[in-house]
Symmetry: C2
Subunit: 140 residues, 2 copies
Amino acid sequence: METVAENQNVRNAKKLEKMFGHIDFKHPPELCPVRDVMSVASDQWSILIILWLGYFPVLRFNKLKKYVYGISNKVLSQRLKVLEADGYISRKAYPEVPIRVEYRLTDFGQTYVEKLLELTEWMQTNSPKVLANREKYGLI
Amino acid sequence: METVAENQNVRNAKKLEKMFGHIDFKHPPELCPVRDVMSVASDQWSILIILWLGYFPVLRFNKLKKYVYGISNKVLSQRLKVLEADGYISRKAYPEVPIRVEYRLTDFGQTYVEKLLELTEWMQTNSPKVLANREKYGLI
DNA sequence: TTCATTTGGTTACTTTTTGTAACTTACTCT
DNA sequence: AGAGTAAGTTACAAAAAGTAACCAAATGAA
């Protein structure tokens, strides 16, 4: 791959290499764990599920469905499975009738929700700019 | 909506309210700018496009396509449009033949790429854990 | 002159992913 | 006997994404 130094001035290139050089989003997905892992963790439904489980330490399926407004049973169930497989959340089923299932963040999930919260705060702060821009763009 | 204090012990609830209370991911999408804006900005292709434009300050369509490995013309073109509409990137076309088009981050996009870089570093650090977990889960 | 090449897309068509809504299981309560 | 309940699953429809061919308009080569 061509380096940034070939396209930009050298001073800037050094800074960019320091910021980006060690991060591995630069490979095809099958060779790139970052892309692979991120595509699950930054999915829009995954984000909401994890945020809600950060807010309410324990949630059952139907509560999650209520809070993650708009999600379908099917997708919620799918996402919960992959989030569990990836280690963000845990699932505990109690063999009562009707069955009771509790979802919560793992310790690992807790570290992720902190990152997500930062991202979400950024979105909260900046969404007015984005909406204003979108509006303006629509008129052009 | 029910508050966290009704479900959890009060000490923890205060902390959670402080962290989450002011953030607005709790509404249906049509009422929730955060969900709306985030669904564009945290899309897997959007993330890669923005990261690459953080790394190479100027990129043309076909370079982007090469670097954002696996993206199709169609989706690249769509994403560039919405990212431009939302104010993250700018598009400048030079009426040469064949046409030359330059994409770069806006100042606003620059502030976002910094957030994304943090997220990406987290993914880089933690992807081994996720992959290991996934492996283990597969056996169960 | 005719033909291939170039960039930044678009278009038509196929495949995959999502959304919708009805259904299931197994036990309890009326 | 029939209704209700929690946590899903299933079949079918709709939307999104992937694929690959195509386009314009000029340049350079044959």
